[in-house]
């Protein structure tokens, strides 16, 4: 990991090599832009805002990029920055990446997530709906919604299981695991949900069906296989561990060998 040193100057001049692509079918290319007077206290997305204002003033098309909450919880901001998902620091999303991580005069490559399952929509925006379909295939639980729903706190869960489930549930679905994996594998994403619900009593009803359906959908979306390189857990902004993939592997094997229903 690159040491994030405080930049000597308070404002930076940078060269940006940004991926521009008009639409999904168009051929993309890198466009070079220079930005000046970027505050080291600003976030990477704010730096892109400055660039876009410059472009708009110059009568040119602004760069399309995903952003929403800008506080690291929504998972929509993506970007492959200088060869790393969400840039050079660990455990953060792009909105939490600050310009103090760069030096005056740096050239920064900004690319969209690259994966066959994540087609580019425009510029730096990719279609991550494949992840939604994996969740829809089984990432849910059955609850009584007739008005007399039981208080979740009344169901005992041991501390270790609750902690494991919570760690897995912290996935924000950003797709950094897919983007950084040499196989574009969505195992960490899928495993996070499988492991989350397998650890809780509420997840037991669909347990075997869930893992089989989600794995089948994950494969159908064209994501790759797991080579256990561990890149995903390093780049995951929420620090979701590789052991959850082992958990999914165990859940799946158990489900396939013992499930009574045909899937």
């Amino acid at each position: 990991m690159r040491k994030t040193t405080m930049a000597a100057r308070k404002s930076l001049s940078l060269t940006l090599k940004i991926w521009r692509q008009k639409h999904a079918k168009a051929r993309g290319r890198f466009e070079t832009h220079r930005v000046k007077g970027i505050s080291t206290a600003s976030s990477f997305l704010e730096m892109l805002d400055v660039l876009n204002e410059n472009l708009i003033e110059a009568g040119r098309e602004p760069v399309a990029f995903d952003h929403d909450c800008r506080e690291g919880i929504c998972g929509i901001c993506s970007l492959y920055i200088n060869g790393r998902a969400h840039g050079p620091s660990r455990g953060i999303t792009t909105c939490q990446l600050h310009m103090r991580s760069f030096r005056d005069g740096d050239t920064i490559y900004v690319e969209p997530w690259r994966s066959r399952a994540f087609p580019v929509i425009k510029d730096l925006i990719v279609d991550r709906s494949a992840l939604d379909r994996v969740l829809q295939a089984g990432g849910f639980i059955s609850v009584n919604t007739s008005g007399n729903t039981q208080d979740a706190d009344s169901i005992p869960v041991n501390k270790q299981d609750a902690d494991q489930a919570f760690d897995a549930a912290s996935c924000i679905g950003c797709g950094a695991c897919v983007a950084t994996c040499k196989n574009s594998s969505a195992m960490l994403f899928t495993a996070a949900k499988v492991s989350h619900l397998a650890h809780l009593p509420q997840g037991q009803i669909e347990r075997k069906r869930r893992v089989q359906h989600m794995v089948r959908q994950m494969d159908a979306e064209g994501f790759g296989n797991c080579s256990v390189t561990g890149a995903c857990e390093v780049e995951c902004p929420k620090g979701i561990a590789l052991k959850h993939i082992a958990r999914m592997n165990r859940e799946y094997g158990h489900a396939v060998l013992t499930s009574r229903e045909q899937t």
């Binding site: 060869g83 994966s115 066959r116 994501f223 296989n225 390189t229 165990r250």
Partner: protein, 235 residues
């Protein structure tokens, strides 16, 4: 679906065959270490009787067919996985990518390492296995043994001590064991992960065991041809 086609099942087979081949390596190494005995009739008879047992025992026969099957499945499964993984990556690659920041070189290059090991296996089989099964190989009579036995010992020593190609072969074997070391350094622990065998109490042990295995076993394997070439008396 089930235990055949899914991404996870393919990794189960990769892991299971890999782990079986790890067991095979232990057995193979134990046998090979007999080549370190001082040159002479005793070492020759001992190794050749062992080799005869390995080619005739029905139990070993079953194990050897399992080994052939494991190697083939490991290769075919590896090819299928590699093709799928490359396709999943898509056509446009990152212009700037720093994979070394988040993963080991071996873990990202298992297919390349495996291909080199595959090439080694072919040459290794031509060197020894083919001679045992198809000849030419000398046979001789040994006391208290009904059949004539093949002199694989002399073939082995001569191969590595050969004036023309022996040195190159020794270097190739040593290099191949280095490749095997890198393959094992990732494969050992990753196999447990793929099979879902992960537990905070044992994960550390598996990692340490894998690291030790990846160093010790290939080192001992590589030591044998080097020893025959540079230390053992000329046959």
């Amino acid at each position: 679906m089930g235990m055949g086609k899914s991404s996870l099942a393919k990794k189960y087979w990769m892991a299971a065959t890999g782990l079986f081949l790890i067991l095979f390596l232990i057995g193979h190494l134990a046998g090979n270490l007999q080549l370190l005995l001082p040159l002479g009739q005793r070492a020759k008879d001992r190794f050749n009787l062992y080799a005869a047992f390995m080619t005739h025992s029905p139990v070993v026969k079953i194990l050897s067919y399992l080994t052939y099957t494991s190697i083939l499945l490991h290769i075919i499964d590896g090819i299928v996985l590699t093709i799928q993984n490359r396709r999943a990556r898509g056509k446009v690659r990152y212009a700037k990518n720093k994979p070394a920041a988040n993963s080991s070189w071996s873990s990202r290059n298992m297919a390349l390492l495996g291909t080199l090991i595959g090439a080694f296996i072919v040459i290794h089989l031509i060197n020894f296995w083919a001679k045992v099964h198809f000849g030419p190989i000398e046979t001789y009579i040994i006391a208290n043994h009904a059949e004539r036995i093949q002199d694989l010992y002399t073939v082995t020593i001569q191969t590595f001590q050969d004036a023309q190609y022996g040195l190159w072969l020794v270097l190739f074997y040593a290099f191949s064991m280095l490749i095997l070391a890198f393959h094992l350094s990732h494969g050992f622990a990753a196999a447990f992960q793929s099979l879902g065998l992960s537990h905070p109490r044992y994960d550390g042990l598996i990692k340490r065991l894998g690291a030790a295995f990846a160093v010790v076993v290939p080192l001992l394997f590589a030591f044998i041809p080097l020893y025959i070439r540079f230390v053992l008396d000329q046959i």
